[in-house]
Structures are given as structure tokens and as C-alpha cells.
């Protein structure tokens, strides 16, 4: 007679956890072995992964396919510049406010866009983002059409030494990415994650089982908005300038992110990492060819959607049933300590 228990980790995930920790340690040590350019690239990769994880949570798990998350990137960025520039606020405090501010703004937005479903929801979120961009371009204190530059004191506030500053910014990127990932990971592992997966698989069925689908989606939407805002603040802190076009750019913050998630494997935690790597490789390879790489990205996205809609990691899961970040639950059979005599 055997009993069953619920297991979370798989052997692959345990092995991978070891490697992940090692990679993370190497990345944390980068300020001591890498140069400024490399750190900037890895920092960029980090925040793209964070944005991709958030979009994946929204679209791949909660079923909210938003084409307007760039709104929160811009909102976070602008709030940071506004607080530090106009209110002379401490940069860390401003960053800490930028995220929740974006989350707060997402509440009235949700009143409008949650009226729409499916693809109409997607375009609706896009309209909202355009509205924010237009407001930013019209408000004088936000620099109107030409935007704002980061006040010179801010960088010195982080550190007068450039090397230290780069290190701080880099580690902040890494920390925020790890934080965002941890939040997403533990959320999906939890009871709420199970609810999300149920909603994703069948909204009516999960509603009939007592899952409050509206509230769950609402909370996810606000949470991802807040996290996206925080990342937006960090991104533009490093760019030193923000404008309506850059802050709310659909190409930079949504098209690229969607590409990463879709190609890597939507609805998986591993997918965004893979998608980000592919994007970065493609971008670096095709850097000299201008807009061709965007067209290629579009073509690849189309191909993946038609031939392998589950993306690269989705294909791996189908083939090998591999899960590196254990969020599932398995039944494992274990023999009892004593067996009854037959």
C-alpha cells in the first residue's frame, strides 16, 4: 500500500535551481569583472525579462492581452522625473513612489478597459496609453512635447563616483528583476496561481467553482501596472531623458516584450528568459540593418504563432515535460514505512 503526497519540485528543477543560483552570483559580481558597456547590456536584459514576466503574467495567465502596458512604463518614468525635478525628492523615494503611482492610475483605467473583451480589450489599452502620452505632451510642467531631462543633481545623489553609480544602477536593475520574478513565481505557486491557471483554462468553469475571476484579474492588472511603473522609473533614470514618444513607445515597451514572451513560450515562466535571449541576439546581429530586424521579428512572431503557438519552451514542455521553475503540483507515490501483511 502506498500513500501519495503532493510534490512541488522535480529533479530538473532542483538541478536548475543550483545553476540559477550560480548564474545569479556571477551576475551580481559583474561590477567587479565586467565593464560599463556589458553591465548596461545585462541591465537592459534584466529589465526586459522583468517586463516580459509581467506581460506574461497578465496575458499568459490572467488572459488579459494588453497592448498598452507602455502606459505604465511612461507613467513610472514621468513620475520619477517629476518628483525629482519639480519636488526635489530623493531619487530612491521617488522611485519607490513611481511604481505605486502607476498602480494607482491603473485603477480608473481598468474601469474603462475591463468593459472590453479579447482583442477589443487589447486595442482599448492601447488607446489609454495614447491618452497618457498625449496628456504628457500637453502639460508644460512635464516638458510638453520635448519632455524632461533628469536633473543633474540626481546622478550625483546616487554617487559622485561614476563607477559606483553604474554599479548601483546595475544592481538595482538586477534586484528589481529578481524581485519581480520572485513575486510572479510565488504568486503562481500559490493558491492564487492555481486560480489564475484555472481562469486561463476556462473562465466560466472556474467562476462556477467559486473563483472570483473579476477580482483576481483586477488585482493582477493593478499589481503588474505598479511593477511596470517601477521598472519604467528605473529605465528612464538610466536614460537620463524622457519624452512622450520614448516614455509611451509601443515599439520599445510592448512590441518587443510581446515578441519575447510569444517566441519564448507564453504561459510559462521559462519562456520570457528564452525570448529575451533570442531578441538580444537578433538585435545585436542585425544592428546594422535598421528596420529589417523589426520586420524579421514580426515575421518570426507570425511563424511561431502559426506553427508553434506555445513558443519554444511550450514545445519543450510538450516534448519533455520539463519544468525548471516548479509551480505545478505532482502526485508522488511513496511506500509506507510498514506494509500490512497480505
Amino acid at each position: 500500500m502506498e500513500s501519495v503526497r503532493v510534490e512541488r519540485a522535480t529533479r530538473a528543477s532542483r538541478v536548475f535551481a543550483f545553476f540559477a543560483a550560480a548564474i545569479l552570483a556571477v551576475l551580481i559580481a559583474m561590477p567587479w569583472w565586467g565593464d560599463a558597456g556589458q553591465m548596461r547590456l545585462v541591465g537592459e536584459m534584466a529589465y526586459y525579462v522583468a517586463l516580459a514576466q509581467l506581460w506574461n503574467l497578465l496575458a499568459g495567465y490572467a488572459g488579459l492581452v494588453s497592448v498598452g502596458q507602455q502606459a505604465y512604463v511612461g507613467l513610472g518614468g514621468y513620475m520619477l522625473f517629476y518628483l525629482t525635478g519639480v519636488w526635489n525628492m530623493n531619487v530612491y523615494l521617488a522611485l519607490a513612489i513611481a511604481g505605486p503611482f502607476a498602480g494607482l492610475m491603473s485603477i480608473p483605467v481598468s474601469f474603462a478597459v475591463f468593459r472590453l473583451r479579447g482583442a477589443y480589450f487589447a486595442v482599448g489599452t492601447w488607446v489609454v496609453s495614447e491618452v497618457f502620452a498625449l496628456f504628457a505632451s500637453l502639460i508644460a510642467v512635464l516638458g510638453a512635447g520635448s519632455g524632461l531631462s533628469l536633473t543633474t543633481g540626481i546622478m550625483r545623489e546616487i554617487s559622485p563616483d561614476r563607477g559606483v553609480r553604474n554599479t548601483v544602477l546595475y544592481l538595482m536593475s538586477l534586484a528589481i528583476t529578481v524581485l519581480v520574478f520572485a513575486v510572479v513565481y510565488f504568486l503562481l505557486r500559490s493558491r492564487h496561481g492555481l486560480a489564475l491557471t484555472a481562469i486561463r483554462d476556462s473562465e466560466p468553469a472556474s467562476a462556477s467553482l467559486g473563483v472570483n475571476t473579476f477580482r483576481t484579474k483586477f488585482i493582477i492588472y493593478i499589481a503588474t501596472a505598479a511593477c511596470t511603473g517601477l521598472i519604467g522609473g528605473l529605465i528612464f533614470l538610466q536614460k537620463l531623458r524622457i519624452s512622450p514618444e520614448a516614455g509611451f513607445s509601443i515599439n520599445d515597451w510592448t512590441v518587443v516584450v510581446i515578441f519575447m514572451v510569444v517566441i519564448g513560450g507564453i504561459g510559462t515562466l521559462e519562456g520570457p528568459f528564452i525570448g529575451m535571449l533570442i531578441y538580444i541576439v537578433l538585435r545585436e546581429l542585425l544592428a546594422d540593418y535598421g528596420t529589417i530586424y523589426l520586420m524579421l521579428m514580426g515575421a518570426i512572431a507570425i511563424l511561431v504563432m502559426l506553427k508553434a503557438p506555445m513558443g519554444i519552451w511550450g514545445w519543450v514542455i510538450q516534448r519533455y515535460d520539463l519544468q525548471l521553475f516548479p509551480i505545478g503540483r505532482r502526485l508522488a507515490q511513496t511506500p509506507l514505512a510498514t506494509q500490512p501483511k497480505e
Binding site: A119, V127, V131, F135, I258
Partner: protein
């Protein structure tokens, strides 16, 4: 400030927006597909007209004789070759595939024509106006376009309600599964639907390209305007879309009158307001 003129101007702008919206509305009504590349296809039509007018010396109105069939065939091929394969996978494939097409068109146009503004020229009619008593002045061109939009929707309604093909469209829109069981070739019908939608898209692209400059990245705003017109008017109703366009145009005109930089924003805000207050639009017709 002559408010009557402003409102008339705004209302007539609705004719353009309605033309933008027809293709989108058809796509969603018949195939349940929101074509993210719709705006870019409108811009593509304008570029095709540009090429045709430059190559043949035809004026933009006459160029329609070539642009319309070209866009029809493009729509047919696009649906038949690509979009039909996305229909059974749920929400994401059509959205992302059309998104990909949008990126490709935008960047293809950038490669081919550069990041410059273009405009189709037709001469005097662009700026001609009718002067009516009471210091009313109505632009001739917007009036003509509004008439064209009304005619277009009228023709489409005739197609849907008085022809065999239209009946098939409505049946497929109701219940694609049963329609196939009645002998209708759904996939061919969808291709035809996008082809027909592209006729109106071509009209929209060329007629608007005469009025306003266009550039490779002008697609998204056109998609958004089309989308707003459809939602304001209510899903499933063509005449509703015309009225939606008019409401949008009016909102923009009022915004522009207060401050020219507020034009597009005013339209967006009107859209969001209607979305919050009356989400199914002014004249909704579809069941989902």
C-alpha cells in the same frame, strides 16, 4: 468662432472615420478577427495610390480603379493564405499575427519610402467650400467623402440583406459551425469578406490621403480612430459605425476649437467616456 461651422466640419470628418471603420467592423463581425494591421493597410492603400499616380500620371481619384482591385486581391490572399489559419487557436494567434503583419507593413514602407510625409494631390477640390447663407461654409471635399461613406454603407447593407452572398455572410457571422454544415465554404467566404473589406479600406486610404499627410507609421492612429468609431457606434451595426464616426468627429472638432493640440485627445476622451457610461455603444446589435 462659428460653432455651427465647427460642428459641421466635425460631423463630416465622421465620414472619413466611418470609411476607416467599415473594414474593421466586417472583419470582426464575420470572422471575429480584430485586424491590428487594419490601420497600416489603410496607409498601404495610400502608398499604392501614390505609386500608381506617380507611375501613370492618373489623378488619385482615377487611381482608385487600380488601387481598389489590388487591395481586394491583397485582402483575399491575406485571409486565405495567412489569417484563416489563425482562426481556430483562440484569441492570441489572430491578434499576434496581425500585429506581426502591422510591424512588417510599417517597416516595409519605411524601407521603401523613407520616413517622409506624403500626400495625394487633387487640386482645387481639396480646399473648395460651399458658401451658404448664415455665414455657413462647408468644405466640398469632406461633404463628398461623407456622401461616399453613406453610399458605401448603403451598398454594404444591400449586400448583406438582399443578396445570397450577404445571407451567407450573416449566417457565418451567427454560427460558423452550422453554416459549414449547410454547405457554405467558410474559408472562402472569409477571404471574400476581407477582400470586400479592403475595397473600403482602399477608399479610406486614398480619400484620407488626399486630405491629410500620411507616413509609414501613420497606421496605428488610423486603427485607433476606426476602432473608436466602431465602439462608439456599437458593435455589429454599420449605420451605428457611421454615427460613431460622426460623434468622434464632433468630439475632435470641439476639442480642436478649444485648442488645436487637443483634437485627437478630445476624441480619445469621448471614446473612453462612452465606454464607461454605455459600454455596448450607441446602437449595439451583436450578440457575442
Amino acid at each position: 468662432m462659428n460653432w455651427i461651422n465647427i460642428l459641421i466640419q466635425g460631423g463630416l470628418l465622421g465620414g472619413f472615420y466611418a470609411l476607416f471603420a467599415i473594414g474593421l467592423s466586417m472583419s470582426f463581425g464575420i470572422m471575429r478577427l480584430v485586424n491590428i494591421a487594419h490601420g497600416d493597410l489603410i496607409v498601404l492603400a495610400a502608398y499604392v495610390a501614390l505609386v500608381v499616380t506617380q507611375a501613370t500620371g492618373l489623378d488619385p481619384f482615377l487611381s482608385l480603379l487600380i488601387v481598389v482591385p489590388v487591395m481586394f486581391l491583397l485582402g483575399y490572399a491575406l485571409q486565405r493564405g495567412l489569417l484563416n489559419q489563425t482562426l481556430s487557436g483562440g484569441l492570441l494567434p489572430p491578434l499576434l499575427v496581425t500585429f506581426g503583419i502591422s510591424i512588417i507593413i510599417q517597416n516595409g514602407l519605411l524601407q521603401g519610402f523613407g520616413a517622409y510625409d506624403h500626400r495625394l494631390q487633387v487640386g482645387a477640390i481639396e480646399t473648395a467650400s460651399l458658401h451658404l447663407p448664415g455665414s455657413l461654409s462647408i468644405g466640398v471635399y469632406p461633404l463628398v467623402v461623407f456622401a461616399v461613406a453613406t453610399l458605401a454603407i448603403g451598398c454594404l447593407q444591400l449586400l448583406f440583406y438582399r443578396t445570397r452572398l450577404g445571407r451567407a455572410f450573416r449566417a457565418v457571422s451567427d454560427d460558423a459551425d452550422t453554416a459549414e454544415l449547410m454547405g457554405i465554404d467558410n474559408l472562402k467566404l472569409y477571404a471574400l469578406a476581407l477582400g470586400i473589406a479592403m475595397i473600403f479600406t482602399a477608399l479610406a486610404g486614398v480619400l484620407f490621403g488626399i486630405r491629410t499627410i500620411f507616413a509609414p507609421l501613420s497606421g496605428p492612429i488610423r486603427l485607433i480612430l476606426a476602432f473608436e468609431a466602431v465602439i462608439i457606434g456599437g458593435l455589429g451595426s454599420m449605420w451605428g459605425t457611421l454615427i460613431g464616426g460622426v460623434v468622434l468627429g464632433l468630439a475632435q472638432a470641439i476639442g480642436a476649437a478649444l485648442d488645436p493640440t487637443w483634437q485627437i485627445l478630445a476624441g480619445h476622451l469621448a471614446f473612453l467616456a462612452i465606454l464607461i457610461v454605455r459600454p455596448s455603444g450607441l446602437f449595439p446589435k451583436t450578440r457575442d
